[in-house]
Symmetry: C2
Subunit: 322 residues, 2 copies
Amino acid sequence: MPFSEDQFLHGLFPRLGAMPPEVVVPPGDDCAAVRTAPGRLLLLAVDQVVGDRHYLLEDNAEQNAEHETRNTQRGTPPELAGRKLLARNLSDIAAMGGRPLYALVAGAFAPGQDAAWMDRFFDGLLALGRETGTVLIGGDLARAPHDAVASLTIVGEVAENQVKLRSSAKPGDILFVTGTLGSSLETGHHLTFTPRLREGQWLAAQPGVRAMMDISDGLLPDAARVCRASHCGLRIEAARLPLRTPRTTVEQALTDGEDYELLFSAAPEAAGALADAWPFPDVPLTRVGVFTAEDAGRVAVTDNAGNPLSFSATGYDHFEKT
Amino acid sequence: MPFSEDQFLHGLFPRLGAMPPEVVVPPGDDCAAVRTAPGRLLLLAVDQVVGDRHYLLEDNAEQNAEHETRNTQRGTPPELAGRKLLARNLSDIAAMGGRPLYALVAGAFAPGQDAAWMDRFFDGLLALGRETGTVLIGGDLARAPHDAVASLTIVGEVAENQVKLRSSAKPGDILFVTGTLGSSLETGHHLTFTPRLREGQWLAAQPGVRAMMDISDGLLPDAARVCRASHCGLRIEAARLPLRTPRTTVEQALTDGEDYELLFSAAPEAAGALADAWPFPDVPLTRVGVFTAEDAGRVAVTDNAGNPLSFSATGYDHFEKT
């Protein structure tokens, strides 16, 4: 009986018990946040990569022979698998407007992953750590019978008066997204993306920015999470969506997942000035929708004439589908 | 080419780069420690459980039929698998003399682990969390193609002037162990043990206690880690070892692993008073050896006449053997 991560967590959260007062942001946002000193929050989150789900373990020789080079599925370079593990977590820190500090890695490696593979995995992870000021301070290594599963816990920090939550959107707010959406797997974006730390920190310092979240499962399901947390509805204009490639469809931009861009809501009176002040010319910033008071928790997508569009896919559930 | 976790980490640590000044205890101890306020350390560690390595995924029906009930291998109740995941991490907090605060869990579950199995897994984990004041503040769920891998990052705290490290033993110090050793798998101890938090916190407050560590891979390999970190030798008297059962051998007590007891070194002048003051009558405290200036990094085990004993097994490497 398949069930989604959201469904399971919905049942789990009430069983966690009361949170201590210093837990300022409880589970359910991109990171949890704990006050460690007045005005200072420690951010904590965990994410994982699973071999042959989030990256390919080895070259697929069968497919290689059948389809020649055109469709060859090459194993993911271990450096990129390790890089992705850290990058996914950095995206969660970016979504809170934070700065990364430390990481801890637990790796259960498959029998075929030898010391050389693991060395390259950590090469990629540590290189991105150096680029972003993230220091590996702990870890555990094990062998799994078949699979390769690695998890990373990220620790970051943010000023308490700058932290951005999923629950802060208000009706009338404008929805923005950074970068472009869709076609992440085909283009390799899911392995090589730059976590939006710089952008998240800049946005955190703007008072007009209200809710923020990273887009990992697809704009449609992730924006719906902001809507549920903020008790708002949302109308997305399909024609405004920034598509990653000329072949990317609106549906792909909404539901492919693995974009690792930021979505945020901005107060309507601040949105224009914010877009004008955006200091990152290499990263598109696009106004794609507006939050509403009606249909709380629901996202409507409309065509140019304002008519509703519907989509069969509901996004990328990392739990059951990837 | 098999290689141990220690070997791999030995190569990895130099690649981590310089630690920021607030990282008071870098990787290589039971926990890393970060100063978050003057005199206050945050403790961080990660550990994992792998299905069919650290617990049994399901009943082994074949063995059941062949050996009747006597040798039946029953699948581990999910509650105990979840409990073990947290308990292993709490043992690391205990080894630093700390108090647990928060946990984050990443679970990559096997296809056969349904919502009911996962519910029971978290039941066991959360029950031990309530008993020990550990609050789950984050997590991630995924599916693995075959295996069940779950990791937990523990966050704790300790006063900076009480933290106990592996590197603080001195020649002449007495080696103590809590509880009993060996036969952990046969007795189910590895699933039901009580992490020595209470004992670790009491020991942390005793100035005569120098080095401390938890025994997870076996007394012989774990004490050797203290010896290497402290640049000491160690002589263990076999006859003093507290054996878990009447059938437990000296070799099993030294190398079985999964004891989750504490070992610590005490200044010789403090050892007697410390043993007298030990306030936990239900937990044995046993003096089992003495640290030496010779043979730095090596552990010798002697019989009653002082003659060296040698052992083929070198302990329980969670990485390659479990």
